[in-house]
Symmetry: C2
Subunit: 337 residues, 2 copies
Amino acid sequence: MAGIHLTLEAARGLSVSCLTANGCDDDNAQAVTEVMIKAERDGCTSHGIFRLPGYVKTLRCGRADGKAVPVVERISPAVVRVDGQNCLAPLALDRGRQPLIEAARETGIAALSLVRIFHMAALWPEVEAIAEDGLCALAVTSSRALVAPAGGTKAMFGTNPMAFGWPRRDGPPLVFDQAVSVMARGEVMIAARDGHALPEGVALDADGNPTTDAQAAVDGVLLPFGGYKGSSIGMMIELLAAGLIGETFAYETTANTADDGGAGRGGEVIIAIAPNRFGDGEGWLDHSEAFFAEMLKQDGVRLPGGRRHAERARIPKEGFHIPGSLHEKILALTNTE
Amino acid sequence: MAGIHLTLEAARGLSVSCLTANGCDDDNAQAVTEVMIKAERDGCTSHGIFRLPGYVKTLRCGRADGKAVPVVERISPAVVRVDGQNCLAPLALDRGRQPLIEAARETGIAALSLVRIFHMAALWPEVEAIAEDGLCALAVTSSRALVAPAGGTKAMFGTNPMAFGWPRRDGPPLVFDQAVSVMARGEVMIAARDGHALPEGVALDADGNPTTDAQAAVDGVLLPFGGYKGSSIGMMIELLAAGLIGETFAYETTANTADDGGAGRGGEVIIAIAPNRFGDGEGWLDHSEAFFAEMLKQDGVRLPGGRRHAERARIPKEGFHIPGSLHEKILALTNTE
């Protein structure tokens, strides 16, 4: 494979150095780095080190504060609020996770509201970490407006991923993380970079016409998966990740924020559920394992996350590659003398 | 229009008489009737009086108890559990709604777990009633196995509707209610009854081959909307409405229950969220109204529920029609001498 070979440890050092050189304190640099490293470890290139220049842009333009100290508050018995104070999202998530888990264990179900953060990471690491502690988790976040509602031609929703995690008896939790766009923005960006065409039904160009050109899609608008049903889910995510918590809707984020490749300020909500507070004791675990086993009896059916788990067994040993151009860009961004 | 003309009041009387003749006490008969009448009032034929013979089957075979008294318990600070004692679902929902709303107002977010119920109604009336009280609500339920997971050919998930409600400043709440199947089972049943073909991509026949024949679809398996993304949502709903609360997964419901046109026992979960406990005071209401107004600036974009609200203005005055054959069947089911 072409490009620069990196171990996860080397990538970690590269990222921390670059973020530190661009104004992050150690807490922020480590937190942001860790979500990119988790993505690389699992083979999720589109949310790995590829995102580092975007984080740097968000810091350099002064939108995000690399030295922000998030403020955590339990504002209701089952609601934890983290005011990120304009941090990049990962530090706010790290600070909110344990208080959320504690609240959910006390009350049965609890929500984490994250405001004044800049989010451009994958969502699955957040629900996976909660599910590793034995809870079910559902996370939603908004972004810039990139997706048209069903029937429309102009961006109104973010790609609005929804991530869900469920504890397994053995091995890593069951986790899925899916954008409301047919194709994730990160994947479209990778396709545009590499000159690959998109499948039909993924995007409209800037004039509202269907396109398979990835760059035209980047300049145009993405379409929701499953037509009006995916569109309804995109709308629901806007209402939860923005309307509910007083953060910006995707269309407001777009209006507020220069389109410079960096992140826009936005909100996130994670709902955590403690299954053993729902009346079935510990029975839910064996019961859901039987369900997964039944699913897997069918040829062609897979549980989400299988490819990530396979990469997770391989990449920490073998490392991974990034394009030489990305490596050079990161080094240039790090050398701020 | 052909068929028998009914006012809502006449339909209510027809339904209560029929359910009472088939073993329901007044509480159960009224609750079940009310959800069918709400569906008819809003023009949702597939969840209206059309369902009455199915309810009767569920009662006559002895699975459901028309005199059941649901037991309500707050099992965790933010979790209300209703054991339906084998009632038809609507009475359990009526009994759980206010305790759920009270819990959510106290804690910010709360869940209602419904077990030992027989569900075959539309979900949207449940979230609408909660949203009319100023809360956001998300409801999910499982059913018999009718939908294949992405990549599979055998039914594993229920049609697993997800319903979402959000309060509006003026007028009825924003509500959507959508099955994880491309097409709702009720719609497929109506198409089979009327001899209409289905669009492509809706179903596989009993041999696992794509079909547009509605009866073959009823005998075969439905497909999830949006491919693997809709399939993931179907799986999530199974885990919440069955795994979490100790109720039967759709594949277990199918294995346990004769396929006689009646309902199978299953679970339901409703999450209620009190927006004014999330840190934005009352700001969320104006903020989300601005979001809806922005959506509606685009030609071709509609908010869900518009057709229902238009029918709601018309049908209570004008009444509605049911097929003569359905009317005769209901009369025959009522005459149990």
